[in-house]
């Protein structure tokens, strides 16, 4: 089984104080720590587990700049067999459809029984790249998988749907599945593991290699254009308590009492 897993490097913003950069269209990246997009980590693990069970190869693909190679190395360390780095200045500023277009060109020419992507990315967060890619490839897709098994030419997918329910569906391969967090327990990647794959060559492909008209991707080709980023007004609703821990907790208890919590 030929499995392709599409991954992305994103900043970890969970506890970071974010600032808008001077252009007004990006965030200050100086103090941020980058790593694998959380959802994609589950996708890589799923790909590697399926390969271990059924044989075949896993190819990890990312669209990004030089620094983004790090997530491909990480995927190789987790057990991916090959990696492909789609890198070109013309790709910069792509919207979700642009990214899907680039991935489509790279994937359509190689065997793909199963394509996995993270369901969402921690930066742009559109949740739409996977579905768009599937439509472009002309293959079946299911979004937000929480369980995934493959039996010969058929995938069984449990995925999140309406009203807090999950639905189990079967679909014929080739197919694309977008992966939710919690699908598995992604294996730990040690520094030694990364070192082991440091010698592996990672091919790079640009717009010309993929036969992509640069005008259809990147900022030029983007249909959705970011005009401005801003930090939403903070604490609009919340009364942020002040003082030392004792004072804050006392006031909190007062508020809980006022609202019938004690």
């Amino acid at each position: 089984m030929e499995i392709i897993v599409c991954i992305k490097r994103v900043p970890d913003v969970s506890e970071a104080e974010l600032d808008i950069d001077r252009s007004g269209q990006g965030i200050d990246e100086a103090d941020l720590v980058y790593g694998i997009n959380e959802w994609d980590n589950f996708a890589i693990e799923a790909a590697v587990q399926l390969k271990e069970a059924h044989g075949g190869t896993v190819t990890a693909i990312t669209v990004g700049g030089e620094d983004d190679e790090e997530v491909l190395r990480r995927a190789l360390a987790m057990g991916a067999d090959e990696a492909l780095h789609l890198r070109d200045e013309a790709f910069e500023g792509s919207d979700a459809r642009g990214i899907a277009t680039i991935l489509h060109k790279a994937i359509s020419s190689r065997p793909h029984d199963l394509v996995l992507t993270g369901a969402i990315s921690g930066d742009e967060g559109s949740g739409h790249v996977g579905g768009m890619l599937a439509a472009m490839l002309g293959i079946r897709q299911v979004a937000l998988a929480t369980a995934l098994t493959v039996d010969r030419s058929r995938a069984t997918v449990r995925h999140e749907v309406e009203g807090g329910l999950e639905r189990v569906v079967e679909l014929d391969l080739p197919a694309l599945v977008t992966v939710q967090t919690g699908l598995n327990e992604p294996r730990y990647v040690s520094i030694r593991g990364i070192r082991k794959v440091s010698g592996m060559e990672i091919p790079v492909a640009g717009a010309a290699d993929l036969g992509i008209d640069p005008a259809t991707v990147g900022l030029t080709g983007a249909q959705v254009v970011t005009e401005e980023l801003f930090i939403p007004p903070r604490g609009e609703g919340a009364e942020i308590l002040e003082g030392d821990d004792d004072d804050m907790v006392d006031t909190l208890i007062e508020r809980l009492r006022e609202h019938g919590g004690l």
Partner: protein, 325 residues
């Protein structure tokens, strides 16, 4: 151009239109500027739902077929592609729900419509649409624009972000659409899984202490459980805690978990993603404890403590126990 025709994809939950249908109807009405606001309703045995929608939409395109008993994003995309290509609405609005995320990107590629995802607000512009959406886990908002190249536009809209107006009493016309006989051979439905009922029913709880990623380690859950015990509350959680198998799925509050409506909700180490907050209804009192002052939870909470939960939670428990004697 001031009159615009819009199309809304209605999400059904348990056979009834989801709240998002009315939110999108209201938002579409604002954008339409006197134009037509139509709905697409897809399911099996949806006559009653269609009737309900006549108060909100000028036209309801009904796809009613046993093949459509289980919502299926690909089937929805296929049906809507025909509809969008036939009627070419100025914009198609889809709720940014799990099912919406399943259908919208496929529909956008099939129709060639530009798609902007997960919008908080929409505004018509001369040459297209302007929207505000969140990026970086809700910590940053982006003003984006989409230009209409002639095919019409698409947006998915976050549930709960638009206000539902009064039903305009539109007296909508129900249009029965044909469903191709071989529409859904792609996905074969196996079963629907509801979260297993737990020992406690969180939906009936008056007070919930909810714990998130900030708890760091499984053994730290103890401080939260012990606070809940002191308060006579139940313990709930956000997704990361379930992903790590520290608590069962039926404790997860959110759009992919349980919907709760407590009088008091104490969020401990929860950042407050919209997927989590989407499971919290009923307008109860929300207290948040988080060390990150920029956590989105502080935008929706009533009272907040920016601090270390490992200091605050045990102190709160101690004081609650003192008070209760």
């Amino acid at each position: 151009m001031s009159e615009r025709n819009l199309l809304v994809l209605v999400e059904l939950v348990g056979g009834e239109p989801d709240d998002s249908a009315y939110e999108l109807a209201s938002e579409a009405r604002k954008l339409a500027g006197g134009g037509t606001v139509a709905a697409a309703l897809i399911g099996s045995g949806v006559g009653e739902a269609a009737q309900t929608l006549t108060a909100w939409f000028d036209r309801i395109h009904v796809y009613d077929d046993p093949q459509l008993a289980q919502p299926d994003g690909e089937a929805a995309a296929e049906l809507l592609t025909t509809l969008v290509e036939r009627d070419r609405p100025w914009a198609t609005l889809v709720p940014h729900t799990n099912n919406g995320m399943d259908a919208a990107p496929v529909l956008a590629v099939k129709t060639g419509c530009p798609l902007v995802a997960d919008c908080l607000s929409l505004e018509a512009a001369d040459d297209g649409l302007k929207a505000v959406r969140t990026v970086y886990g809700g910590k940053v908002h982006a003003r984006v624009s989409v230009r209409d190249a002639g095919q019409g536009l698409m947006a998915t809209v976050r549930p709960g972000s638009c206000t539902t107006a009064e039903a305009p009493g539109a007296g909508g016309e129900i249009v029965t659409e044909t469903v191709p006989a071989d529409l859904v051979p792609h996905r074969r439905f196996v079963e629907t899984i509801a979260p297993e009922a737990g020992a406690v029913d969180l939906t009936q709880a008056e007070i919930l202490v909810a714990v998130g990623r900030g708890i760091e380690e499984e053994e730290n859950l103890e401080i939260v459980q012990s606070l809940a015990e002191a308060l006579g509350a139940e313990v709930a959680c956000s997704r990361p805690v379930v992903d790590k198998n520290w608590l069962p799925k039926n404790h997860q509050v959110g759009t992919s978990g349980v919907t709760v409506k407590p009088k008091i909700y104490i969020a401990v180490g929860i950042s407050g993603s919209f997927q989590h907050m989407g499971g919290l209804k009923g307008g109860g009192f929300i207290a948040a404890i988080n060390k990150d002052p920029a956590a989105p939870i502080f935008n929706v909470a009533d009272v907040g403590i920016v601090g270390d939960l490992f200091d605050i939670v045990p102190l709160l428990e101690e004081k609650v126990r003192e008070l209760k004697g």
